[in-house]
């Protein structure tokens, strides 16, 4: 164990961890939303994210940008960012809705048991990632350098870059907006009602199908934003990028209390930071193991996650 490593790099490890955690948190929202309402681990959410990472790159490609391009100046950069975000949001949102319509809705129509949903989710996930894998020959795709990471300010001797600030801020803003929407708006209340008692919700005049579609859409949008941030931070994507980060995101969602939006944020940030600390302390190969150990320990003491479930129904 190399404590000096962790102590020396504590600041930077924290900041990069927070940035990674913010991406995980945005990604985790989709799991949490869908789980909260349908009690379904939407395995295919990882591919919703994956398609987002490609949508952005392909859109930037339309502008003639590839991994070898030079970094653009501020004006075009803003344009590319907006266009990239829009593309990812549209593609991820559409993908999420498609999955809901193709893979889940037919099952719901037949009142299928919960495990069936889980397995179609796995099927959808496998299908999408494999099609992407075959189409890209399982090679990586590099991301154009849209934002050049530049130090923005320093705290102590830790420099914080513009990209890190952007990622963390964006995650906070999106979280806040989503939280307001779910807990403050009428439609949001409908979402919670369907989550807690679908039959009663219908009796209150809530359109269940619409709410479910909405939930997938919202999850897709958040995943789209996460995908753009991922592209910028990691710099590379591949057909299995969604699966890989999806496990982190799902872990984060459970860690915070699945079904709980603020829990997803907390879980994501915690996970991102902890992974970095573990990598600093034990070596990078232990980073995922550390997140699972954390998960187990937390669940032992708080069986429904840090903040507990909120959207979800308690089983009467």
């Amino acid at each position: 164990m190399d404590f000096s490593g962790l102590i020396n790099d504590f600041g930077p490890l924290t900041v990069t961890g927070l940035a990674q955690g913010a991406i995980i948190a945005l990604f985790a929202l989709g799991y949490t939303l869908v789980y909260g309402v349908l009690r379904l681990i939407n395995f295919a959410h990882s591919e919703v994210f994956l398609l987002g990472t490609y949508a952005t790159i392909l859109t930037w490609g339309l502008f003639g940008l590839d991994q070898n391009s030079a970094a653009p100046s501020v004006g075009p950069m803003l344009l590319y960012m907006v266009v990239g975000l829009v593309a990812a949001i549209i593609v991820s949102g559409a993908a999420a809705l498609t999955v809901e319509f193709v893979a889940y809705r037919p099952l719901r129509r037949r009142n299928a048991p919960p495990l069936a949903f889980l397995i179609t989710a796995i099927g959808a996930s496998l299908f999408i990632s494999e099609v992407v894998g075959v189409a890209t020959h399982r090679n990586q795709t590099g991301v154009p350098p849209i934002i050049q990471a530049r130090p923005l300010f320093t705290i102590g001797d830790t420099t914080v870059t513009n990209l890190q600030v952007l990622i963390i801020l964006l995650a906070l803003v999106m979280m806040f907006a989503l939280d307001r929407f779910i807990n403050g708006s009428r439609l949001g209340r409908g979402v919670r009602a369907v989550a807690q008692n679908p039959d009663s919700a219908a009796l209150m005049g809530v359109n269940k199908s619409r709410v479910i579609a909405l939930v997938f859409l919202l999850g897709g949008l958040m995943a789209g934003i996460a995908a753009v941030m991922y592209d910028l931070k990691i710099g590379v994507t591949r057909y299995d990028a969604g699966f890989l980060l999806g496990i982190d995101a799902f872990t984060a969602a459970v860690l915070g209390g699945i079904g709980n939006l603020r829990g997803a944020l907390l879980g994501g940030l915690l996970l991102g930071v902890l992974q970095n600390y573990a990598a600093g302390l034990f070596g990078s190969q232990w980073l995922h193991a550390a997140s699972f150990v954390l998960l187990v320990v937390i669940l032992l003491f708080r069986p429904t996650g840090l903040l507990g479930e909120s959207l979800g129904r308690s089983r009467a």
Binding site: P113, I122, F127
Partner: protein
């Protein structure tokens, strides 16, 4: 109610089979068992044989692969199908079984000098180890509710994989070589050699049959009833005196045991194992197999186990026009999973109970 609703009065093949006298059933079972043992020679059957057997991979080897997949499916079926515990990291037990064997028998192992056991000697030890792993995993986590258990089991399997990859004792990707094969010789030649996989398949098949008998006995007893009660309403079960924790732990231990058996066979046949095999996707695939086949029903689990192993192996070496279908195997597979589940949400061969439940439920969907 005019209905005399009973599971036993069932249409189709199963209903017919159930109505036969015991000796007819016994003869039929014997007949199909013998057929199963003859599978390695399926290729010699004119016309259909060549369609069935695999091309890119040795047919007996493919059969052996199926046999350990089936074992895994049977074991996971106990955990998921019977006890209703969602385990997303089942491959962890498979790994423990395989590593247990390797540690005791491979010259690469740090304790080889002390043990240097033969395969057969290592089997009981490795199985005890897996059951222990099941209990150790279950003890702290079985109090967790449904889907929390899923992610924790997933986490455990990942931890096992990462530890196997990253610790020098477990040798990671370097792996353990020269794990001995099962014992026995015939005409001076070892029965379990390296070039012929048929004996391994027969061994696997025999183990499967024993497992089927054992699990069936458990299912049709107080144990199976308790599992079912837990799956349906855990708190009510507990209030009715079911020691839920104990039975869940048993389900885990039995599931682990069967998974471990798979691992032990796998190690004995491959003779080389490394951490690459025990990836998460493997667990998920087996789960998909169980549910697709029909969770809670052994015939279904077996079919599921066969399919998840056979389909990719069969696609190997096939090409469609210029494209190698093998490359598309998981894409095809994913689509097939969706299709199967949408068409048969209860699985291909569901348990009678589940089949009925679904039929009823289907008619109750409110207008969407």
């Amino acid at each position: 109610m005019s209905e005399k609703a009973s599971f036993r009065t069932n249409g189709g093949v199963r209903g017919w089979f159930g109505r036969q006298p015991w000796y007819v059933r016994a003869v039929l079972i014997l007949f199909f068992t013998v057929l199963a043992y003859l599978l390695p020679y399926a290729g010699d059957v004119p016309l259909i044989g060549p369609q069935i057997i695999t091309e890119g991979i040795d047919w007996p080897s493919a059969l052996f692969n199926m046999s350990y997949y089936v074992l895994l499916a049977l074991g996971l079926n106990v955990v998921v199908g019977y006890a209703g515990l969602l385990d997303l990291g089942y491959v962890g037990f498979f790994a423990v079984g395989a590593y247990g064997t390797a540690l005791l028998t491979s010259p690469d192992s740090v304790i080889y000098a002390d043990t240097g056991w033969k395969w057969l000697m290592a089997v009981p030890a490795a199985l005890v180890l897996t059951m222990l792993a099941g209990v150790i995993l279950g003890w702290p986590t079985l109090r967790l509710r449904g889907d929390y258990l899923a992610i924790v089991t997933l986490g455990f399997a990942e931890i096992i994989r990462i530890v196997a990859t990253s610790t020098s004792t477990l040798r990671g990707d370097r792996g353990f070589a020269s794990i001995p094969h099962p014992p026995g010789s015939w005409n001076g030649e070892p029965i379990f050699g390296v070039t012929d996989a048929i004996p391994y398949f027969w061994l696997g098949l025999t183990v499967i049959i024993l497992v089927i008998l054992g699990v069936r006995n458990l299912d049709r007893s107080r144990v199976g009833r308790s599992w079912l009660a837990i799956r349906e309403d855990e708190e009510a079960a507990e209030v009715m005196g079911v020691r839920t924790f104990k039975y869940k732990l048993w389900a885990f231990a039995i599931g682990a045991f069967i998974g471990g058996l798979g691992g032990v066979l796998f190690a004995g046949e491959q003779s080389f194992i490394n951490s690459q095999t025990f990836v998460l996707q493997f667990s998920i695939l087996v789960l998909a197999g169980v549910v697709m086949g029909g969770s809670g029903n052994m015939a279904g689990a077996i079919l599921g186990g066969v399919l998840i192993s056979y389909i990719p192996d069969r696609l190997r070496g096939l090409s469609f026009g210029d494209t190698d279908l093998y490359e598309y195997r998981f894409a095809i597979f994913g689509a097939a999973i969706i299709l199967i589940m949408v068409l048969r949400p209860q699985g291909l061969i569901p348990s009678r109970r589940r089949a009925m439940e679904l039929k009823d439920r289907e008619k109750e969907v409110a207008p969407l």
